[in-house]
């Protein structure tokens, strides 16, 4: 807040957009994500210079160029490692990592799991479009089996990753899903991710209108969205189809039930608890092909949150402890070592 001519004014809105021309294809879902991130940052009151965007390679990874923050466009798949190094020495910065399904889950698969298990404090936005866009249309590790792409004319023979099950398996501490076509939801989830200390991973369904148009149509279009999606909220029962259906746990097995008059009471439904690691493991497994008869709805929202300490907090604590125990490093003592002898 500042004063001009004695009048108190609200702070000027900080513009986080850079002067660079955006080079994504017209109609790409990336625009929507960029907009929501800019809006969140503008509302966060954060200073531009304290924010760093790190990316790998792929369409999504051009993201840092479009924000007037610090940015590093890295190499394919290695953004998690770059982030880990940066955060180890600059834990006060707000670090965001932009990646895609190929970047994070194929070439960078080894790094993302280690980022998650270490719990480096970073907001990871995983743009999942189930296709390789920048290389012009090959199948990705999230493309469904049978996907016909330029490299799989007879259909993909690969079983796809369930990204959030992978994240859960690697002990991710913040697990969420959103979609490019639901800006409001995305903004809410982004804000939650930003507030979490640790690796916050949001899988964002993002439409590639050139090479894989409509991949998530059934989940994002008005007509089909209610029946096929499940928006979870902490402490609330799992309902969908405009509240007419719900999910109930039969032991460890989730089942769809009716909730209108004469159906299952809301009290008997699965109540979402984002702190429950066991339920989270089931939630991420709701991954049916929505086109199939009787498919479970696809969940969106914050699935799981865990507050274990961040990697950099532990690293920094060790350095502090070493300084406390041994004193701040004395270079001459180090060079001298333990045993010396003198000649002359």
């Amino acid at each position: 807040m500042s004063t001009v001519n004695g009048t108190i004014t609200t702070p000027e809105k900080i513009d986080f957009s850079s002067d660079q021309e955006i080079r994504w294809c017209p109609g790409c879902g990336d625009y929507s994500i960029l907009k929501q991130v800019q809006t969140l940052l503008e509302q966060s009151g954060r200073r531009k210079e304290d924010v760093v965007f790190i990316s790998g390679i792929g369409c999504s990874s051009r993201f840092p160029y479009y924000l007037d923050t610090y940015g590093l466009h890295g190499i394919h798949g290695r953004a998690p490692a770059i982030v880990s190094g940066l955060r180890s020495v600059r834990p006060e910065l707000s670090v965001w990592m932009i990646t895609g399904d190929g970047d994070a889950l194929s070439i960078g698969g080894n790094h993302i799991i280690h980022l998650l298990r270490r719990n480096v404090d970073v907001n990871v936005l995983l743009f999942n479009n189930e296709i390789y866009g920048l290389t012009k249309g090959q199948y990705s590790p999230t493309s469904p089996e049978g996907a016909v792409t330029r490299s799989t004319p007879m259909g993909s023979t690969d079983h796809p990753f369930n990204p959030l099950a992978l994240v859960k398996g690697a002990d991710g501490t913040f697990i969420a899903r959103s979609m490019d076509r639901d800006p409001k939801h995305m903004r809410e989830v982004l804000a939650r991710a930003d507030a979490h200390r640790g690796t916050s991973l949001i899988e964002i369904y993002q439409n590639c209108n050139v090479f894989n148009d409509g991949a998530f149509e059934i989940l994002t279009e008005k007509a089909t969205k209610p029946l096929h999606t499940l928006f979870v909220e902490h402490g609330k029962p799992l309902t969908f189809a405009n509240g007419t259906r719900g999910i109930k746990l039969n032991g460890m097995t989730p089942v769809i039930v009716d909730t209108y008059a004469g159906g299952t009471s809301l009290d008997d439904l699965w109540i979402h608890d984002e702190r429950d690691p066991y339920k989270a493991s089931i939630l991420v497994r709701l991954f049916d092909d929505p086109r199939l008869e009787g498919a479970m709805p696809r969940p969106f929202g914050v699935f799981y949150v865990n507050d274990r300490p961040t990697h950099e907090a532990k690293l920094t604590a060790q350095v502090a402890l070493a300084k406390e125990r041994k004193g701040v490093g004395d270079l001459d003592a180090l060079l001298k070592g333990q045993h010396t002898w003198t000649i002359g």
Binding site: E49, I82, G85, H339, W341
Partner: protein
């Protein structure tokens, strides 16, 4: 528990001695060797060591594959190598004898543990019909001393609470005590070491101490050993010394560099032989602001170091050949970002997994050329364990002051070898000044740095260069200096993505020019020994230093017109190198590879350099260098 039993056997003086301890890789040979080294260094000898061990942690006992060796050269004169041949060979079993007998001088001394020469050991070592070399007369040309070390150790430890297996583990201390006696040294240093090591295991400490004393006393009382030897202190330059291995030197050089730049040090690394000791060493010095990060793989190791450098720390990674291969793409990124980074390659035998515990200099081309596109990176090479410190420090200087990744080549030979080091004082090391830019409020209250680093509209120019071609280092957190950098070709000055053809050519040239100009800071090239012009120049690099120096001094003493120059800047070359090469009729380049530096010299200077190449995973002997030189000197 004093061991200074000054009794009556005669003492002969020796100028220098090479002793090789050899046994199974579980016999504690490396410890025995390093303790005897420290004892001699403390006494005032000049020393040089060569540990040589198998890749397997515990290779099959008694086999040739499992032999571990530790060679030590100590003397009352200056010592440059661990020695071509040994005077004394200490063997714990038959395989150790078989593997190393070829290295023993004619007439040399063998001290053999007879217990290691039973039928099983003889068979495992491959002695035909289990013929025992200790008794069949085949060692008649040597002075053979057979000692039942196992039995003597067990006897000495009678009454202790240890089991037989644990008692037998003290054999190496018996040997060490005996050798201390033989060379008129005291047990004191090792006793101090044992007290510290086994402070929480009093029974193990007691047993090791007893074995050490028993070995010493055995020398005194045994009738077979009639003479002791003495190697007087060397006329070393006055000063205070410590012992240092190459990997320690590298680690300390990196810390010293970071301290002199007032930066934290981030070390991203994945364990690999023979580089892991750098990680071990650095992880012990967190109180210097050292963060060690054991990454999930080699790629993450270097990428995390890049992230740390981006954040304003000194990012460092190290590995050996196969790991360096994995880091290649990220090196290109660091080059493109023009960010400080030190990459250490402790070379080992290649290609592929190659010879993990053996030494080679075959990654020179990988360092100089091994990236896609034109990505010249300065390459330095250390020549001795001490030089690892100096070159690591220089690598940090260049990386930080020129905003570039730098590759430092060492190798398994000097990384594990040790020598006495007259360590510097911190005030003798230069300050390091990276081009960090700071923003402050301009007249309009807007954050700006230096005027030349902003365009007309005030935008920060991350790739504006100074007169040396070096870009500014703007760290996240600085208002007004926000910028985006990446591996995609960038527009001159702004760093924005650019595919403009002429801009690309300009940028390739600017980056190359920046690296070429680093040669401006190198000290003038120095002739290590010999005339400033003449018949033959032996041009060495890296760990061949000691062997080349010894050979050159000998050739000069023999009246040959031979000079020795050892280069440490592999890329860019020292500016004085080209003119120097022209001052000698012939140039010989000894290398532990098939001629990589030789080809670079030919390409750069059109000089008809000749190669002397050894690719056996073992360092050159000075005699091999001398013979190669004499061959070239033939009319």
């Amino acid at each position: 528990m004093s061991t200074t039993l000054k009794k009556s056997k005669p003492v002969e003086t020796r100028q220098n001695v090479v002793i090789l301890f050899a046994g199974d890789s579980g016999d504690g040979i490396q410890l025995t060797g390093s303790q005897f080294t420290d004892t001699n260094a403390l006494f005032g000898n000049d020393v040089s060591t060569f540990p040589n061990f198998p890749a397997e942690i515990r290779a099959p006992q008694g086999t040739l594959a499992g032999v571990s060796g530790y060679q030590l050269h100590f003397g009352s004169v200056e010592i440059f190598t661990p020695g071509d041949q040994c005077d004394v060979l200490v063997v714990m079993n038959a395989a150790a004898l078989k593997a190393n007998l070829g290295k023993l001088k004619k007439g040399g001394t063998i001290i053999a543990n007879t217990d290691g020469f039973d039928k099983k050991n003889l068979r495992l070592a491959g002695y035909i019909d289990e013929a025992d070399p200790l008794t069949d007369g085949s060692l008649v040309n040597f002075q053979l001393h057979s000692v039942d070390v196992t039995k003597l150790t067990r006897t000495a430890l009678e009454g202790t609470s240890l089991g037989m297996k644990e008692k037998d583990r003290c054999k190496n201390m018996f040997i060490l005590g005996f050798i201390n006696w033989m060379y008129s040294r005291e047990n004191a240093l090792t006793e101090g070491f044992l007290r510290k090591k086994f402070s929480k295991k009093p029974d193990v400490l007691d047993a090791n101490m007893k074995a050490l004393v028993a070995g010493y006393n055995y020398g005194e009382t045994s009738e077979t050993f009639t003479t002791r030897f003495e190697v007087k202190a060397a006329p070393m330059p006055k000063g205070t010394y410590r012992s240092i291995t190459g990997n320690q030197g590298t680690a300390l050089g990196l810390i010293a560099g970071a301290q002199k730049a007032k930066l934290d040090l981030f070390y991203g690394s994945y364990p690999i032989t023979p580089a892991s000791d750098i990680l071990h060493e650095l992880s012990r010095h967190k109180n210097f602001g050292v963060v060690t990060f054991q990454a999930e793989d080699e790629i993450a190791a270097i990428s995390s170091a890049i992230g740390a450098s981006y954040g304003g720390a000194l990012g460092v990674t190290a590995s050996s050949g196969p790991g360096i291969a994995l880091k290649t793409e990220a090196m290109g990124l660091a080059f493109m970002l023009e960010i400080p980074l030190v990459i250490v390659n402790v070379q080992r035998g290649g290609p592929s997994t190659g010879l993990p515990t053996k030494t080679e200099q075959a990654d020179l081309w990988q360092a100089v050329h091994g990236r896609n596109g034109e990505a010249p990176i300065p390459v330095l090479a250390a020549s001795t364990p001490i030089d690892c410190f100096d070159m690591a420090f220089e690598a940090v200087q260049i990386a930080l002051e020129h905003m570039t990744p730098v590759i430092l080549l060492t190798d398994g030979y000097i990384a594990n070898g040790s020598e006495p080091w007259r360590f510097p004082s911190s005030k003798d090391l230069p300050e390091i000044k990276p081009p960090v830019v700071i923003a402050s409020d301009d007249e309009g209250g807007v954050k700006r740095s230096r005027a030349d680093l902003h365009d007309a509209s005030g935008n920060f120019l991350p790739y504006a260069r100074d007169e040396r071609g070096v870009r500014p280092w703007a760290l996240p957190g600085q208002a007004g200096l926000q910028h985006r950098i990446g591996g995609i070709e960038k527009q001159d000055k702004t760093g924005n993505i650019s595919y403009d053809p002429l801009n690309h050519e300009l940028m390739v040239r600017l980056r190359a020019e920046k690296v070429a100009r680093i040669a401006d800071r190198f000290k003038p090239i120095r002739i290590d020994s010999g005339p400033t012009e003449g018949e033959l120049l032996i041009l060495g690099w890296g760990s061949t230093y000691g062997a080349v120096r010894t050979a050159a001094l000998q050739l000069q003493a023999e009246g040959q017109s031979v000079a020795h120059v050892h280069i440490r800047h592999m890329f860019p070359f020292n500016k004085g190198l080209g003119p120097l090469l022209k001052k000698y009729k012939k140039v010989l380049v000894p290398e532990m590879n098939s001629g990589q530096l030789r080809q670079m010299l030919r390409g750069e200077f059109l000089v008809d350099a000749q190669g002397l190449n050894k690719i056996q995973g073992m360092p050159f002997t000075s005699e091999e260098i001398r013979a190669g030189a004499l061959n070239l000197l033939k009319p």
